[in-house]
Amino acid sequence: MKILWTGLGFIAIAEFIALCVSFLNPKKGKTVSGNSDNIIEAGTIDSFQPESVTAFVRGKFYLVCLKDGGFLALSSKCTHLGCSVPWNEEEKKFICPCHASQFDMTGKVLSSPAPRALDIYKIKIVNMNIIVDISRIIKRAGFAKEQVIYPENVKR
């Protein structure tokens, strides 16, 4: 009898846990990818000057056009503890207001406490149009040449 009750008790607990899990993950079943909210058309290539940083408030990223014309989409979220990092035009740096981490134009850490470079998003260039996919954030330790996207007609 005791065993029966204990067993029933365990089943009840398991059911309850399953119920909790299903309440906590209501997204299941819906498709997330391909959502148009996650694809942002930033504009045409020639609307960005080399060596410029443009903020995209809706996607919370910066579109950086490097000196050589390559593009990078940097997340504006500080890799230290998640504050939003503004671009400082005078000093040509990203300076975090929270604990003063600094990053250069490519997102590389210039001064700690941030442990790694700013995260990036994937960029595609279709018919001169820059398209940023913000559905997945890409973490990286530092800056590498391969992360930069070049329009086909610009030489490296």
Binding site: L81, G82, S84, V85, P86, C96, P97, C98, S112
Partner: protein, 444 residues
């Protein structure tokens, strides 16, 4: 006491019908108290009434919280508007919100002092050990309650403080899982607010009520609070007893009434802060943790996050949990600070802490930079393990020196170190709250 000898209380008059609910209330109060209590446990300096005060504050929080819950809407943006509505349009809404805010903040302080009281009167040995553990759990839940409540107004301060605190989990083993769990993966969002709201208004209060009940039951089982002369398994000395009614009840009522009057007057004069509505694209400078976490925030400035928000707090908690299990149970109880010698050692270690900790902070801020000293080393070792080891070695040397110098017993030596660490944490909290300005730079 004029009532000590009055053994035959007149039976509660049942003639008046109106008095009945009141009598029921009185007999409920009588039932959760012992009939008689030791005279010496009545002295205010025995407990400072801190436990009772915590209960009164918790009660005020529940009443004002339920009122606000009637108007509050847990959705980003809308939450802010509903708090504004509480503030500006609801009759006494501002007052209720202020009472909730100030009671919560005072509860952290009062409950912390209550814990210190129990520690310094050695009130956690023998049967009281379980209650010590329960007490720590209650304290942690109060902190969690404050933290989850902090997000609810959804203003800039709240949003960014919670963002910073939640991102700390990324540095804790398997903490990313937790972070993704409460934030939908990327940032503090609707999901976070709804979880915090549920925790804050339902889950934590229910658990707290259960824990309170166990806490009080265990106090009865342990024979009341500790008082000078309480010795474990030493029942042949009977203390002088007095009746709880009215000796204890009167004192409880006075303490409660004074506290309520105090909170009410503060709530009439000062308003609970409400910043601009949260903007997930703009961090305020500085973005700080709430004050009860600013000691941790200060640690974070000096140590690698793995040490600052995981290893150091966990070690400190373990020490707190296990103190009554690793020290000498048979020792003297109920006496403040154990002995005169220990009092003196404690005083010195508090002073020492007040001098050393700012010294360490200044050294780390302006002189030593572990990262520059060891540029090839990974951060966990250069800004984590190495400074941490130095601090630990420092504490151990201090422990043995004090123990030798004052010839302290194990309990006294533990108390000395406890005073050192607690003072250090208070210094860190003060630094983090008032002395950190934009960019977390030191200001004064």
């Amino acid at each position: 006491m004029q009532n000590e000898s009055r053994d035959h209380e007149p039976a509660n008059s049942k003639k008046m019908l109106a008095a009945k609910p009141f009598n029921t209330f009185v007999s409920f109060i009588k039932h959760i108290h012992p009939v008689k209590i030791p005279l010496s446990s009545l002295a205010f300096k025995c407990t400072w009434g801190l436990g009772g005060m915590s209960l009164v504050l918790a009660f005020m929080l529940m009443v004002t919280g339920i009122l606000m819950q009637l108007a509050y809407k847990p959705l980003p943006g809308i939450a802010y508007e509903s708090v504004q509505l509480i503030k500006n349009d609801i009759l006494f809404g501002q007052l209720v919100r202020n009472i909730h805010y100030f009671s919560a903040n005072f509860l952290v302080i009062v409950a912390f002092c209550h814990m210190l009281r129990v520690f310094f009167t050695s009130g956690f040995y023998g049967t009281r050990r379980v209650n010590w553990i329960i007490g720590i759990c209650i304290f942690l839940l109060i902190l969690l309650s404050c933290f989850t409540g902090y997000l609810l107004p959804w203003d800039q301060t709240a949003y960014w403080a919670v963002t910073i605190c939640i991102n700390m989990f990324e540095y804790i083993p398997s903490g990313s899982f937790f972070k993704n769990f409460v934030t939908d993966g990327y940032e503090v969002s609707t999901r976070t607010l709804q979880m915090f709201f549920t925790l804050h208004t339902t889950l934590i209060p229910s658990i707290l009520i259960i824990l309170f009940a166990i806490h009080f039951w265990k106090i009865r089982k342990a024979g009341g609070v500790v008082f000078p002369g309480t010795h474990h398994a030493d029942d042949n000395i009977k203390p002088v007893m007095v009746k709880s009614n009215p000796n204890l009840f009167l004192r409880e009522t006075v303490v409660g009434a004074v506290l309520i009057a105090f909170i009410l007057s503060i709530s009439l004069v000062f308003n609970a802060p409400l910043d601009d509505i949260a903007n997930s694209g703009l961090s305020p400078n500085p973005a700080k943790a709430p004050w009860y976490f600013s000691g941790l925030q200060e640690l974070l400035v000096h140590f690698h996050p793995l040490f600052a928000v995981f290893i150091i707090p966990v070690l400190a908690l373990l020490l707190l949990f296990f103190t009554p299990f690793i020290t000498d149970t048979a020792a003297q109880k109920g006496v403040w600070f154990i002995s005169d010698k220990a009092k003196k050692a404690g005083f010195i270690s508090a002073l020492f802490s007040i001098i050393c900790v700012p010294g360490f902070i200044l050294l780390d801020e302006y002189v030593v930079n572990f990262q520059l000293l060891m540029p090839d080393m990974v951060g966990v070792i250069s800004t984590g393990l190495i400074p941490f080891s130095i601090v630990i070695a420092f504490i151990f040397i201090f422990y043995y020196l004090m123990k030798r110098k004052f010839n302290l017993s194990i309990n006294e030596a533990f108390q000395t170190i406890f005073i050192f660490l607690t003072t250090a944490y208070i210094v860190l909290t003060v630094t983090g709250t008032w002395l950190r300005g934009p960019g977390m730079k030191l200001i004064w």
